[in-house]
Symmetry: C2
């Protein structure tokens, strides 16, 4: 639960204070505030926009460049047919219930959860359990009102409700409809009964052009564009598998009632990799040996089914060998995901990999792991790492007739034995007429086993029926003289196959939100002095320049500093407002600026400056060249503060410059 | 015209060959090809996606970091009301004509242009003028068909048609409707008459949520989100103007019939700056003195109105002093735009700044300049640099009541004299009853001049009428005893004002397309050997690694090279296919890889490698450390090939390794 969540300094996490900082320093806000703000849409201000850009650059370097992935940018606007084939038109939906009297639309699972939780809360109140300390007078009033309506539940009912909440996620629409009837669940704001749940598609629909003939959606994932580009990718990689494509782009989900801030939004940036691999390769990965000893916190399906929630640290080599993780490629990506998280500054104690339960996975998936990050909202999926098998390429190939597959020349020709079912053209033509072609196609579509079975039946009974959905009679009557089913032997020199796809899919907004919570803490003994300890590599602003006080004599030194920082392409903020230097450091700690350069009276004499480390508040004093060298190295991730402290003389500020406690 | 367009090497530009290269090397393609491709939507393959990322990073550094702009990311989904206020719901439209029999939708200006151009072409054919060389048999057939329908036009008609084409862009919908009737313009594909032009809004419409109560659009520009964030920006910059925000994000335009490839698309990346400035500041810019001597190719309104199209090189200091460019801020941005274009590798001979004619600008704009780039499609606007005055902030403030303005404490209090018109509350209450408040509001809305005039009239005539649209009678009768109009003097300590906005707006796709045309050329004497001379700083792949031939002994050296390039974060491509080294260089020149490192037999002996420069095909030979140092410096823009050639010994490849002529 959220109450267990601690800051990196081990303090209670105060979400209200944290959110106040985000607002004050304009990290983010709900979009279109002057027009009343739109739920589920957020704007990023300068600190968060820049943080995102830094994180994306690291992602590009860590995945696209280092792994030689093929970067793709595909369109967001997507024609109806594409998403009909992929299954999104039919299945990308949430259930909702309508209040017929008010017209209100309620997301069904939220409705059930809210009503049942309220009843359980009423029960706890009726039993006299202490709910929480209430200081706020507004809340006190609400609480006393609630106490009046507190109703004690029968023990059986209470147990049933608790079970219901635990299993709600697995419910179908009909299942939820039954729960609503059984427990008389009504719209809490009106008291009205609601209509039965109906699925509502979560894609934003629009039209391309003005003809009305090109219905389209905003894509719900970047993956489909990558699948449809398969032929180009194959061309670019000279036909050699495995290879991976990668897209950083926006996707959309028309949430019925968005909650949880940045964790569930309607418009979001994703970074998705599609790794295409030969299904006969055992999904081995050429670089697996390089990572096999890396340990990951893995929460297995088995542990979860036994009610456990503590991950076990285990090396990926061992995990793949024991089949806990299905294959090397999946394992390799889990390691790369963890290393990426570490690089951007995620707290490794707040990261785990959770295996999907069997009922969470698509029917075709072999294995699936989520990288979850802990925040004050609990454990949240931030990266999904799924095996999509050959599903997507197959359905698009079937729908369009375009070969989304690999044709491989075999090293040596292979003799294969195959059952072949062939109509006798002379006899079948007059008999079946225009249906003959469709019947042959149906025969071609039979599997080897089905062909063998058909041959056996014909031999035994002289005739057999074949389902041919495309013809009027739906069934074709075949006899021994009209179709020949035989085992044939032939030499094959090429192999055609549809690759399997392993897909690590990153929700960038969720990662950024978790990261912001992970780096937030307050200075010992002063909850008002909060700090965002972004790593120098990702910090939105790298350097704070502060003259000791307002003094015109500092101007040339500041100008010199500004010019040098610009030459080194370092972003910086100059704070020469009138408040004390300690206050200026403090308020910029909230922006997460890792280093401060102070211009003081000694600088005027010997052209030295002090360099302050945000996290320790320690300072060193050195020449401008030395200080800039240290800053550049730390920002590029080549050095850390401990290295700089060793190299450069430390500096103790005089009493009047001290930072307030 | 396109035929004048030359490559950087001065060759005729062969667009078919260029497009073939883009397809072959998967720079881009129409989206959703397996589903028949959607017009106006493009996917970027690895070379173009990466080029875009490099260009965007330079843009961020050049504008956001260097100019200390506030980076913003705002939502693409935009509520109806926002775009109603901004004027886009009513005015962001193209005219179309419907063919009532076929249902076809035709963009009106394209329809007129196509039909008239066909007639003029028929006239030229009838007059026996040579149109163009026709080699393609398919085209030949078309041409001979056209010749049969060639009709000579009356000289007056011909002149009228030519004038019509030149002025078509200035036509209103009614104007175009009149032209269609006058010249009997019909749908060329059916021969049918078309319905009169109607405006069709070019925004993609959708719905937020499932209630049907939140109509929304995909934004047509990123600017509106920035305007609505004005208060946050003001907060972040401690209330100090001028400041600028910047957004890199997607916008959408539902083109009726997209043409011209990447130059007119339905979904596009923009980089937009909104620079907010005090209108009383004269729009001076604090850094203008740094750029005042930079010369720009300026094509003024005057030159254009005299039929000229040749820009004049003039220093921006002079241009602002002579008022050719309206103000310093606009001038400063024109210079920064040009420097950015130079940085990414735009051919400076194919860049000009064109001033908008008076009828091209919004009514409120003071001045507007486009940065145009020349490509085989002619001069195309790639950056617009407009003065949006206080328009957007004012309309949103009026519509929402949220103060999108600056409140400034004056350095010294100021005594102002103002006409004040005030109802006598005791008398006006009983007389006007519930209308009294509305009448006072109407008085408050009067300008100083209007109040003075009202006062004069009351003095002279004893009574006057006041328009009050909100009350039933629409007019209020005022008399001397009921309203007092007096000049009052008071001391003012603050000033409220709505900033003016100067907006440089970059179309990223158009810039990328122009850049690709600008860097394309073919080696002397061999049109088949084409080269994309991307600058090392933006090239999608930095290094080509080529072993002289297939030889297992090279493997450890290649592995060493790969590791070192990875450590330096250099993207590279390894080409060890069986073809000659010259061919491998050639085919990778098409990807624009600036440097090639060759592993040969001498490398086995002394661990030296050769480094090849793509543009000159010259080579040097040195140790791995020296070669990597040179590559890193050139990729970071700190050195160019000429520097490296001076430092490192040149290498002449033996006959058998020579690149084919």
């Amino acid at each position: 639960m959220a109450t267990d969540y601690k800051t990196l300094a081990g303090q209670e996490f105060d979400r209200a204070a944290f959110e106040s900082l985000l607002r004050r320093k304009v990290f983010l806000w709900q979009s279109f505030e002057p027009y009343g703000a739109t739920k589920g849409l957020f704007d990023y201000g300068p600190p968060l926009e820049t943080l995102e850009a830094e994180v994306i650059n690291i992602w590009r370097d860590h995945f696209i460049r280092h792994e030689k992935m093929m970067a793709l940018k595909c369109s967001m606007l997507t024609p109806y047919n594409v998403l009909k084939t992929s299954g999104h038109v039919d299945k990308f939906a949430d259930f909702m219930c309508k209040d017929p009297k008010t017209g209100e639309i309620l997301r069904t699972d939220h409705l059930i959860k809210d009503v049942i939780e309220t009843r359980l809360k009423g029960d706890r109140e009726a039993r006299g359990e202490k709910i929480e300390e209430v200081d706020d007078p507004k809340k006190k009033k609400k609480a006393s009102k609630a106490a009046k309506t507190a109703v004690k539940l029968d023990d059986n009912v209470k147990q049933e409700y608790e079970h219901l909440l635990a299993t709600l996620d697995d419910c179908t629409g009909d299942g939820m409809g039954a729960l609503i009837k059984k427990h008389d669940i009504r719209n809490p704001s009106s008291g009205n009964e609601v209509e039965p749940p109906v699925p509502v598609n979560l894609m934003f629909q629009t039209q391309i052009g003005a003809s009305g003939k090109e219905p389209a959606f905003l894509r719900p994932e970047t993956a489909q564009g990558q699948f449809l580009s398969f032929q180009k990718l194959l061309e670019y990689s000279d036909g050699q598998l495995p290879f991976a494509s990668a897209s950083i782009g926006y996707s959309f989900r028309n949430e019925l009632s968005p909650r949880s801030g940045l964790l569930r939004v309607r418009e979001f940036l994703m970074a998705e990799v599609e790794h295409f691999v030969d299904p006969l390769s055992n999904k081995q990965h050429p670089k697996f040996h390089l990572v096999k000893d890396v340990k990951l916190p893995l929460l297995s399906r088995t542990v979860q089914s036994e009610g456990g929630s503590t991950p076990v640290d285990i090396s990926i080599g061992e995990a793949v060998a024991s089949k806990l993780v299905d294959n090397e490629t999946l394992g390799y990506f889990l390691v790369r995901i963890m290393l990426f998280m570490e690089k951007i500054g995620i707290d490794m104690k707040k990261l785990r990999f959770r295996q999907h339960m069997a009922n969470e996975m698509a029917h075709y998936a072999a294995d699936c792991w989520d990288c979850e990050l802990l925040s004050s909202y609990g454990w949240v999926e931030c990266v999904g790492c799924a095996d999509r098998s050959a599903y997507d390429l197959s359905v698009h190939m079937k729908a369009t007739g375009v070969p989304l597959q690999v044709k491989e020349t075999l090293k040596e020709p292979v003799r294969v034995e195959e059952w072949v079912a062939q109509l006798d053209k002379k006899k079948s033509g007059p008999l079946f007429k225009k249906d003959a072609g469709k019947i042959q196609a149906a025969l071609d579509a039979l599997s080897q086993d089905q062909r063998e079975e058909l041959g056996g039946k014909l031999q035994k009974e002289g005739s057999a029926e074949l389902e041919v959905p495309d013809i009027e009679s739906k069934l074709a009557k075949l006899s021994l003289d009209i179709v020949k089913v035989e085992k044939e032997s032939r030499v094959v020199t090429t192999r055609e196959y549809i690759p399997n796809v392993i897909e690590p899919s990153f929700g960038v907004g969720r990662i950024l939100y978790s990261l912001m919570e992970h780096v937030y803490w307050t200075r010992d003994g002063d909850a008002a002095r909060s700090v965002m300890s972004f790593k120098p590599t990702v910090a939105p602003v790298k350097v704070l320049v502060v003259p000791l006080q307002k003094d015109a004599r500092f101007a040339p030194l500041i100008a010199q500093l500004e010019q040098r920082l610009d030459e080194d392409a370092m972003s910086f903020k100059l704070d020469q407002s009138g408040v004390s230097i300690g206050k200026r450091y403090s308020r910029n700690d909230e922006l997460g600026i890792p280093f401060g350069i102070t211009v003081d009276y000694q600088s005027l004499e010997d052209n030295t400056f002090t360099l302050r480390d945000r996290d320790s508040t320690k300072q060193v004093r050195a020449s401008l060249d030395q200080i800039l060298e240290a800053v550049v190295k730390m920002v590029r991730g080549k050095e850390v503060w401990a290295d700089v402290e060793k190299r450069l003389p430390s500096f103790e500020s005089k009493d009047e410059d001290k930072e307030e406690a």
